[in-house]
């Protein structure tokens, strides 16, 4: 059963076709990789999926319990409410806020108490705030960040900042999670740890995940299917072993004279 269908998605920046005619299809519960050389347009695809950029043309459809939503004309926050959350390649945490606040803010959209309660700190306020803290700490525990809940995000080491981005995205309670290079800058041990974590999260949160990653060991290990992007176009699609053997993919990477695999 599909959860996301992308049809002929195109984005032009002036004359540059950052993404052109991309078709993607993700099934419920899948873990799919999106790879490609630098500048291939991977992040741009994420920005289109999350409404940060408006597509030049094409459609994005999200399927959820019998209803389908067109995402291509929605604002980022409505897309998030519809069930798509993401992390950013160049970490975008709320740097001057605490770890706890970073997570709590992502839970705001599911909050019930209104302006009046927030001004007068009514009973509804304190009950929901307590729940918020509890839930946040639960999520933080998964990536072992709970003991740092009062630290400012900017003071976390790089790896933990990446982890916090994932927790924050989870806090938005998505059904589709987009991870943009979650392992960037991590050493092999950390990457292995992260790989395991992503699998665990997918199972326990019942998620569909689309993952951009340059670390091929990670991609090949956990992705069930992979899309390869080059110059904004999908040049290959298939299982990890099919992709490894694909000539066009090898050319695309060798043409760049960087061998990631």
């Amino acid at each position: 059963m599909p959860i996301l269908k992308v049809n002929k998605l195109t984005k032009a920046f002036g004359g540059l076709m950052a993404v052109s005619n991309v078709n993607l299809e993700l099934n419920q519960g899948e873990l799919v990789g999106l790879i490609g050389p630098n500048g291939a347009g991977k992040t741009t695809v994420f920005n289109l999926l999350t409404g940060i950029y408006v597509p030049t043309s094409g459609t994005i459809t999200l399927f959820q319990d019998n209803n389908q939503t067109q995402l291509q004309c929605l604002k980022p926050y409505t897309i998030c409410k519809a069930g798509v959350a993401r992390t950013f390649q160049n970490i975008r945490l709320f740097k001057d806020l605490t770890v706890l606040d970073n997570v709590r803010i992502a839970m705001h959209k599911n909050l019930d108490y209104g302006l009046f309660a927030s001004l007068f700190h009514t009973k509804a306020y304190s009950e929901e705030e307590n729940q918020l803290i509890e839930k946040s700490l639960e999520l933080l525990k998964i990536l072992k960040l709970h003991h740092k809940k009062d630290e400012l995000a900017r003071n976390l080491p790089y790896g933990e900042q990446r982890h916090l981005e994932i927790v924050r995205a989870l806090a938005a309670n998505p059904s589709l999670l987009l991870l943009d290079e979650p392992a960037a800058g991590m050493n092999p041990a950390e990457t292995a740890n992260l790989t395991e974590m992503i699998g665990w999260i997918r199972k326990n949160f019942n998620l569909t995940i689309l993952l951009i990653e340059h670390d091929m060991s990670l991609v090949m290990k956990i992705c069930e299917r992979i899309y390869v992007l080059d110059y904004g176009m999908v040049i290959a699609e298939g299982t990890p072993s099919e992709i490894k053997a694909n000539k066009r993919v090898i050319e695309a990477y060798l043409g760049e004279e960087v061998n990631h695999a």
């Binding site: 604002k75 959350a85 803010i105």
Partner: protein, 323 residues
């Protein structure tokens, strides 16, 4: 947890009641003379203005140079109504009407302009305040450049305290709620905030409208206490003065705004004896502060008991080391 919250609330209530009672006592006994009362009133009004602007600029990160415009809407509305209904009830009605009108104008102006970023928003809000001022200059009901006289002074220490403390408590409460955090997240990173489901337009406008509402209250109190208003009182310079209090105290620090409002009022009172140099010194001070402490007195920290403890333990340690 519930209990802790309760005791915290009690502490605050006792502190507020004590402050009110003490000042009331000083007024009754005549220690606070009319001159000191003027300064006290200015401080309170400036606290309301600064804390409400801090919500917009310090917490939500939206740069506004037009706060005096909202203040003037409150001031004129309240005066026009109290001139016709010269009772305390008339004053309170005028004050609320002024605040609501200011909030409405805030919504009308905010919706289209809050899409703008940084400097552009600053200039747009400046333009808005200028337009409001020019409208007041040209209306009959506002008596043009000559301004309006209010015959009665309805603002006394009770109202002053009620509205100042009310503003501070409500805005602090808001900031500590999830809605307040939504505003702060916009300041931190608007794109990330939207990506986690925060409707940034909604919260920017909310902050703007709330800020305008309280600025309207400040304007009403100003008009009622000081009897006289005219459009020039609410020009560009007034907006700047409010912003200076906020920046001097620290963007995103409510206690900073309060401290700065007090300090700046004291400084300007003491400079009143040399009127020809008052503004020059004020300007020089401004430049010096920005050059040496651009984050303001408090940064984005709040004055709190734990901070006091930290300071005192630091001092103790220092003293201990010397002994």
């Amino acid at each position: 947890m519930q209990k802790l919250l309760g005791s915290n609330f009690l502490k605050k209530a006792i502190f507020l009641a004590a402050t009110f009672g003490l000042v009331q006592l000083l007024i009754v006994t005549g220690v606070i003379n009319p001159f000191i009362m003027d300064t006290l009133t200015t401080i309170c009004i400036n606290i309301i203005l600064a804390v409400s602007l801090n919500l917009i600029t310090g917490f939500t990160g939206q740069f506004s140079l037009g706060h005096a415009g909202f203040m003037s809407i409150g001031a004129y509305t309240c005066t026009i109504i109290t001139l016709r209904v010269p009772t305390t009830l008339g004053f309170i009605t005028g004050l609320l009407a002024g605040a609501i009108l200011a909030a409405l104008v805030g919504a009308v102006v905010g919706l289209p302009t809050l899409r703008l970023r940084g400097d552009y928003l600053a200039i747009a809000t400046l333009g808005m305040a200028e337009i409001i001022r020019i409208i007041f200059l040209n209306l009959d009901i506002t008596n043009g450049a000559a301004g309006l006289f209010n015959n009665n002074q309805y603002v006394n220490w009770f109202w002053l305290f009620l509205f100042t403390a009310g503003t501070v408590v409500l805005i602090s409460n808001f900031i500590k709620s999830s809605h307040g955090r939504a505003c702060i997240s916009i300041r931190e990173d608007e794109i990330a905030a939207e990506a986690v489901g925060i409707n940034s337009t909604k919260y920017k406008v909310t902050a703007f409208v709330m800020g305008a509402f309280f600025a309207g209250i400040a304007g009403s109190m100003h008009s009622s206490y000081f009897y006289f208003i005219k459009p020039d009182l609410f020009g560009f310079l007034k907006s700047i003065n409010i912003l200076v209090i906020v920046v001097f105290g620290g963007l995103g620090s409510i206690s900073g705004s309060i401290i700065a409002a007090i300090l700046l009022a004291l400084i300007s009172t003491s400079l009143q004896s040399i009127p020809e140099l008052q503004m020059v010194i004020y300007a020089a001070m401004l430049i010096t502060i920005m050059l040496f402490r651009p984050q303001g007195l408090m940064g984005s920290k709040e004055l709190s008991l734990s901070l006091f403890k930290k300071w005192s333990s630091l001092i103790h340690r220092k003293n201990g080391g010397e002994a």
